[in-house]
Amino acid sequence: MLPGNEAIEAIILTVKLATLTTLVLLLIATPIAWWLSVTASRWRAPISALVTLPLVLPPSVLGFYLLVAMGPDGPLGRLTLALGWGTLSFTFIGLLIGSIIFSLPFAVQPIQHAFEAIGPRPMEVAATLRAQPLDAFFNVALPLARPGLVTAAILSFAHTVGEFGVVLMIGGNIPGKTRVVSTQIYGHVEAMEYAQAHWLAGGMVLLSFAVLLALSLMKRRLGRVLP
C-alpha cells in the first residue's frame, strides 16, 4: 500500500520543522559557540555544560519540563498567555522551540570546535589589516569556520528529523499540525498498519544514510579549506 495523504502531510511537516530548526539554530549557536571558544569567563564551564545538557538528558525528561514550562502555569505559558498567544504546547511553534533546545548541542559543538581550530591568530591578522572586530568575524572567522557550520547544519537537520520523545511529549500527535514522520510511524505500528510503517521507516533509513554520507563527503572536500 502506497503512503497516503497523512504520510505526505507528516513528511512536509517534518521537513518544515527540521529546516526552521536548522536556520534558527545556526543563528543562535554561532554566537554561543564563538563566546565559548574565546571567553576566559568563569561562566564558561557552567554555560558549556548547560548547552550540552540536551545531549545526555532523555528526550522525555526534556519534553516533560518543556511541557510544564509551556503550560498555563509555567513561566513560558504565563508569558505567552499574557501576550495573548495562548499556550504553546501542542502547537507547531512549541514543537519548534522544543526541537531547537533538543538539537542545540549538535549545532554549538561543531561550530565551537571550528572556531577553536582557527585560533586567535587570523582575527589578530585581520585587526592589523584594519578590520573592526565584527568585520573580522564575518569576513575571516565565519568563512574559515565553514566546515563547522556545514556540519552543524546537517547534524541539526538530521537530529530534528530523528526526534521522537520531545515531539510526543510537547507536540502530541495532531495530524497536519504536530504529527511528524517519527510519530506517524509510531501511530501506524500501534494501529498494526505495518505496510505504511514500512514505507515511512524505510524512507527514514534512506534519508538518514544519505545525510551521513553527504556529511562525510562534504567534510573531506571542505576540510581542505583548513590547514
Binding site: R121, E124, A126, T128, L129, R130, A136
Partner: protein, 362 residues
C-alpha cells in the same frame, strides 16, 4: 612635531615570572632590530606596540601619532593603528586567494592611490605570478612574501616583523632576505624587526635594541652597538664589526673588488656587484690580527692603519678583544693577551690591522 620625528615606546608589563620594562627612542626610518634570546620579551614588546596586547602603563608614539598613552587615557585598538604586522608564520587567510589576501587590508584602508601601492608591493616582493593561487599551494617562502606584501599594501606608518624568517629553512631564508633588504633600501617606512638570528641582525639592522630578560641592555646605531667589546651583543665567533661601504674598483684579473668605507677600503672576492653598489661588510674579530708596523711579505691582502680605542678580556683568558678606529669606522680584533702585551698595544696608540677575511652581506 613633523612626520620625520622618531618614535617613543615606553612600556611596562609584569606577569608571573616575567617582567618587561623598556623605554625606547627609535629613529624615523630604517630597520630597528629588536634582538635577544627567546623569552627576552621581544615579541611581547612588538605585540604591545601593535595593541594586540595591552601594557597597563604605556606610551606608544609613532612619529606624531599617539597610539597609546595611559596618562592621557589613549589606547587605540589594533585596527585603528596604521601599522603592518608580519607574523612568524605567514598567517595568510586560507579561504582567500593571494589576491584576496592582498586586497583585504587595502579595501579597509581606503586610500586614493591604493592601486599603485598594491602594484608596487607586488613588484617589490616578486609575487606577480602567485596572485590567483590559494595559500595552501604556496611554499613557506612564498607565503611569507605574500604576508609582507599584504602588510605593505595598507601603507603602514610602521611595519612590525616578528621573526618573519624563523619558521623557514636556510634556503628559504636566503630567498627572502634580499627582498627585505630591498624594502629597507627602497621604502621610507620604518620597520621594527624582531629576531634572535645574528645573520639577520647583521644584514638588516640600521638601529639595534638588545633585550635581555625584559630589559634593554644596549641600543644605538647597529655598527656601534655591534663593535662594543665590554659586553658583546653576539657571542664567541660572531663578535665583529659591521661596515657600510661602496664597491669602487674591480680587479678583473684576480677576481677581486675593492669596497671603500669611512676610513679605508678592503679587497674582497668579486661577486659581480657593479661599481657604486652599496654593500654591508661584516668583519669578524677572529679574522683580524694586529701589527705595530705595516706588514710586509704576507699573503693577507688587507692592511689598515688604526688607532686603538680600548681592550677587553675575551671569554677565554688567553685572548683579548681590541676595539680600534679606522677613520670614521670601528673594527674589532681578537688577539692573544701575550701579543697584546708583547707589542705594547694600549689605548691611544697607532697600529696596523691585518684582515684575513671579509663577509659581504648584500
Amino acid at each position: 612635531m613633523t612626520s620625520a620625528a622618531g618614535s617613543r615606546i615606553r612600556l611596562q608589563v609584569v606577569r608571573e615570572g616575567f617582567r618587561l620594562a623598556v623605554d625606547l627612542a627609535l629613529p624615523a626610518t630604517g630597520i630597528t632590530v629588536l634582538f635577544g634570546a627567546s623569552g627576552s620579551g621581544k615579541t611581547t614588546l612588538l605585540r604591545c606596540v601593535a595593541g594586540l596586547e595591552r601594557a597597563p602603563q604605556g606610551l606608544v608614539r609613532i612619529g606624531a601619532d599617539v597610539w597609546q598613552d595611559d596618562e592621557a587615557r589613549i589606547f587605540l585598538p589594533t585596527w585603528r593603528r596604521p601599522l603592518g604586522y608580519v607574523f612568524q608564520e605567514a598567517s595568510l587567510f586560507e579561504h582567500l586567494t593571494v589576491k584576496g589576501n592582498l586586497h583585504f587590508g587595502l579595501k579597509r584602508t581606503g586610500s586614493r592611490d591604493d592601486r599603485q601601492v598594491l602594484d608596487s608591493a607586488i613588484r617589490l616582493l616578486g609575487i606577480e605570478k602567485l596572485l590567483g593561487r590559494l595559500p595552501a599551494g604556496l611554499s613557506g617562502g612564498e607565503r611569507q612574501r605574500v604576508a609582507i606584501a599584504r602588510a605593505l599594501a595598507t601603507q603602514p606608518r610602521l611595519l612590525l616583523l616578528d621573526e618573519p624568517l624563523a619558521a623557514l629553512d636556510h634556503a628559504r631564508k636566503q630567498e627572502i632576505l634580499p627582498w627585505l633588504e630591498r624594502l629597507r633600501d627602497e621604502l621610507s617606512t620604518p620597520m621594527l624587526y624582531v629576531t634572535h638570528s645574528a645573520d639577520e641582525l647583521a644584514r638588516l639592522a640600521d638601529y639595534l635594541v638588545v633585550l635581555d630578560q625584559g630589559r634593554v641592555t644596549a641600543q644605538g646605531p647597529a655598527a656601534s652597538v655591534l663593535a662594543s667589546i665590554a659586553s658583546p651583543v653576539l657571542a664567541g665567533d660572531e663578535i665583529g664589526a659591521l661596515l657600510a661601504g661602496t664597491v669602487v674598483e674591480r680587479d678583473a684579473r684576480w677576481h677581486l673588488c675593492r669596497v671603500a668605507f669611512d676610513g679605508g677600503s678592503l679587497w674582497l672576492r668579486d661577486s659581480g656587484l657593479p661599481l657604486g653598489h652599496l654593500v654591508r661588510l661584516r668583519v669578524l674579530a677572529r679574522d683580524v690580527s694586529m701589527a705595530v708596523e705595516e706588514p710586509h711579505g704576507t699573503s693577507i691582502q688587507n692592511h689598515l692603519p688604526c688607532t686603538i680605542e680600548s681592550s677587553a678580556a675575551d671569554v677565554h683568558p688567553s685572548q683579548v678583544l681590541v676595539r680600534v678606529r679606522v677613520g670614521g669606522s670601528t673594527l674589532v680584533a681578537r688577539i692573544t693577551g701575550r701579543s697584546f702585551d708583547a707589542l705594547g698595544l694600549q689605548p691611544g696608540k697607532s697600529a696596523w690591522l691585518q684582515v684575513k677575511s671579509v663577509a659581504l652581506l648584500e
